[in-house]
């Protein structure tokens, strides 16, 4: 059960291998990778910059992971979330969940990414043709968080 916040990119395959090294109790692993798109609503996006709250971010991610552990029967998990400036196509976030059986891993993965959207102190700013624009929180993300409560 690990949480990391970093500026650098990550290697999803290497992270997955490291998480599972030596494990014989895992029957299924789900990995989710969030990427920077080159579009958003009605505008082109040149790059994305993620600001965060050092200290609180790590605590919030650990709390979200602990919540997932209490709700789902998962045996291993990892959250890696980047901050700083990223170009379209770059990886932003990695969520890995591993369980004896796939169902719990799928559900825990979806729960984690839903909660990350609205409960981890990150703020996205997009470079657009009109200059940098803060990304507004989306009602659909709030709804996705709420469906787990």
């Amino acid at each position: 059960m690990t949480v990391r916040v970093q500026r650098d990119d990550f290697d999803p395959g290497a992270e997955l291998d490291a998480l599972l090294a030596g494990r014989k109790d895992i029957g299924g692993v789900v990995s989710f990778v969030g990427l920077v798109r080159d579009f958003s609503d009605a505008r082109n996006v040149g790059a994305l910059t993620l600001e965060h709250y050092p200290g609180m971010t790590e605590k919030a991610l650990a709390a979200i992971e602990a919540e997932a552990l209490s709700r789902f029967d998962i045996q291993a998990s990892l959250i890696v979330h980047r901050h700083g400036r990223m170009e379209p196509g770059e990886r932003i976030v990695l969520v890995i969940t591993a369980s004896a059986h796939r169902g719990e891993a799928f559900r825990a993965s979806e729960f984690l990414i839903d909660w990350l959207k609205t409960r981890a102190p990150f703020w996205k700013s997009e470079d657009t043709p009109d200059g940098p624009q803060w990304v507004e929180a989306r009602a659909v993300d709030d709804a996705a968080t709420e469906r787990w409560s």
């Binding site: 976030v93 981890a120 102190p121 990150f122 703020w123």
Partner: protein, 83 residues
């Protein structure tokens, strides 16, 4: 107390991090926001719409009526957009 501002709250106030003395009589997040709003047009603009403001006290999500003290770290920011 330590105050932190993020994203457009930081841009509007023009401050990322500062040490400030909690004014006498202010005991809640809401009261603190009221006091900060009086510091100038940038602060007033940042806190004009409380529905768009989220807060954390000592790095835990807080509500407007939660208590604050002069020993606290309080942060102000827009709704989070992680993931």
């Amino acid at each position: 107390m330590k105050l932190l501002y993020f994203a457009w709250v930081r841009e509007r106030t023009g401050v990322h991090e500062e040490t400030w003395s909690l004014p006498e009589g202010v005991t809640t997040v809401r009261g603190l926001i009221g006091a900060l709003s009086g510091r100038g047009p940038g602060f007033a603009h940042a806190f004009a719409d409380l529905k768009q403001i989220r807060t954390a006290v000592n790095q835990e999500t807080a509500k407007l009526d939660d208590p604050v003290s002069d020993a606290d770290e309080v942060a102000f920011f827009p709704p989070m957009t992680g993931g």
